[in-house]
């Protein structure tokens, strides 16, 4: 079983490798976004040394780290699932001897690893040449970040799967997918770190799963969290990983029994 899924990761990785040229423009786009937010936040800081516990340097690092992490956790599984439901190929997937959703997860993981190695790492290097950012040297902190980032990936894909399988009930959910993407970018702390929202909004955002995708991993590395602060962050992420399984399983069970293949 594990061998099969490992194979899925490998194949997707190789598939991505075949089209690697497409990723150079991706690095440029992410760098442009980092640049835009870098200048905005620099202007916001003005002369102020530190806002809400972030120094200007930490803020710049946060922007770079959170965008390059997005390259790893971001995927189009929601759209893939919705498309396969709409054109009916999902029916074929059901009779194959694997778990459809798990295959999607591992494919995206292969994709994520590809982008982490060939996109985020060189991108980070490029960005650190242009903008003043400060990354920690080699040490345990990178391992902690990797764990937190991985959990962020899992939560993101769970949310993607949830939105994707809603296509069983809402036949055309293109608009919903777009809206979801923008909401996740905002509420996950990618564009604004959660600590910068007004207090009441922070309460709401901390009760939602989105901050566990981007904000928590980025804070782990930018603020060099350790001890209970670190385990607290990872604990929240792990909790969401488990909690989100419930609605997915419920909707999935219901959906499989009410599957209507459109057209054909």
């Amino acid at each position: 079983m594990i061998r099969m899924y490992a194979e899925i990761i490998r194949i997707r990785f190789l598939m991505m490798l075949a089209y690697r040229v497409n990723y150079y423009s991706g690095i440029l786009i992410y760098s442009l976004n980092i640049g835009a937010y870098y200048f905005l936040w620099t202007a916001i800081y003005g002369g102020q040394g530190s806002i809400n516990g972030f120094t200007a340097l930490q803020m710049a690092t946060y922007i770079a780290i959170s965008w390059m992490s997005r390259a790893f956790y971001f995927n189009n599984v929601d759209r893939e699932i919705a498309t396969e439901i709409r054109d009916g190929t999902v029916a074929i997937q059901f009779i194959r001897p694997y778990n459809y959703l798990m295959v999607k997860v591992f494919q995206s993981f292969g994709e994520g690893i590809f982008r982490l190695v060939l996109f985020s790492v060189p991108g980070m290097f490029l960005v650190s040449l242009i903008f003043p950012i400060q990354l920690p040297g080699f040490g345990w902190i990178w391992l902690k970040f990797a764990l937190s980032l991985f959990l962020g990936f899992v939560i993101n894909i769970q949310i993607n799967i949830l939105v994707g399988i809603l296509a069983f009930f809402v036949l055309n959910n293109q608009g919903m997918l777009w809206a979801k993407r923008m909401i996740v970018d905002l509420l996950s702390g990618l564009t604004i770190p959660i600590a910068f929202f007004p207090i009441w909004a922070q309460w709401v955002l901390k009760a939602l799963p989105f901050q566990a995708i981007s904000y928590l991993p980025s804070v782990v590395i930018v603020k060099d969290l350790s001890g209970s602060a670190f385990w607290g962050a990872v604990g929240v992420q792990a909790m969401w990983c488990l909690l989100l399984l419930i609605p997915i399983q419920m909707i999935w069970n219901k959906a499989r029994h009410t599957l209507v293949v459109q057209g054909g």
Binding site: I29, I44, G175, I183
Partner: protein, 261 residues
């Protein structure tokens, strides 16, 4: 005038097709609204931590954003060229267009327009109005006329750049990612350009002049004289870039050989 009659006919057809799938229509509308709301949330949250962004107050920045939405909405309604390469080159629809006696670009524009995006003009107007409510603005009688000229100039800048980028497909049928790259540069024009480094300011002014779509005209309308000359140049820059776009399109059409078989 034939063109306008055609535009009207295309519009009627479009509405019929669109209303057949009402949910799409509504969801598109809400998605647009959502993205605008999210950008506003960003500005509001940011001003929770500072009084000024590069010397601009909260409502001035909101005004600039609201202004930007108007040319942007007009542009996205009529120059919806994102899928051009797939639809017209790879699937060969351009061959059909070329056999008809109306300019190819006009046909392509009419076939791919999305007039529901014009709702953005209203949203932009409301956002601007909200900002103006809080700002001591004193407009002369000719400022509304200038406003219209600025908007048209801004639309022409965007249209020129995107028509030029789209016409790359006419020379080579391989997919290029240059459009999303330029789109992301475009978002720089929504904020005061004086917060960027000199190189970026230069690019946004002369190379990919997105500052003329949002910031320069809006700063004039806000009564700031520092960029007045640039604001007045908006229609000129628009005309120049639109001509460039049109020129590269026409050359591309002459050069177009079809995508095989």
């Amino acid at each position: 005038m034939v063109q306008f009659q055609l535009l009207w006919e295309y519009f009627k057809q479009y509405m019929k097709a669109r209303l057949e799938y009402r949910w799409d229509f509504i969801s598109q509308f809400f998605t647009d609204l959502m993205s605008q709301a999210i950008n506003l949330v960003f500005i509001l949250v940011v001003f929770g931590h500072t009084q000024h962004l590069g010397g601009w107050s909260r409502y001035e920045v909101i005004f600039i954003y609201g202004y930007f939405l108007i040319p942007w909405a007009v542009f996205t309604s009529f120059f919806n060229l994102w899928g051009f390469n797939d639809k017209y080159i790879i699937r060969g629809e351009l061959d059909r267009v070329l056999t008809r006696p109306v300019h190819s670009l006009i046909q392509v524009i009419m076939e791919s327009m999305a007039p529901e995006s014009l709702m953005g003009v209203l949203t932009g107007g409301i956002v601007m109005g909200w900002a103006v409510w809080h700002l001591p603005l004193d407009w002369a009688w000719y400022d509304p006329l200038l406003f219209i000229m600025f908007v048209l100039g801004g639309v022409a800048v965007y249209a020129g750049i995107y028509v030029a980028l789209t016409s790359i497909s006419l020379y080579s049928d391989s997919k290029s990612d240059i459009q999303p790259i330029v789109y992301n540069i475009g978002t720089y024009g929504r904020y005061p350009v004086n917060i960027y480094s000199k190189i970026i300011q230069f690019v946004l002014t002369w190379i990919l002049p997105f500052a003329f779509v949002g910031f320069y005209p809006a700063s004039y309308l806000l009564g700031n004289g520092d960029w007045k000359v640039y604001a007045m140049l908006t229609p000129v820059i628009g005309a120049v870039f639109f001509s460039l776009g049109l020129y590269s399109w026409n050359r591309g059409i002459e050069n177009y050989k079809g995508a095989g078989s």
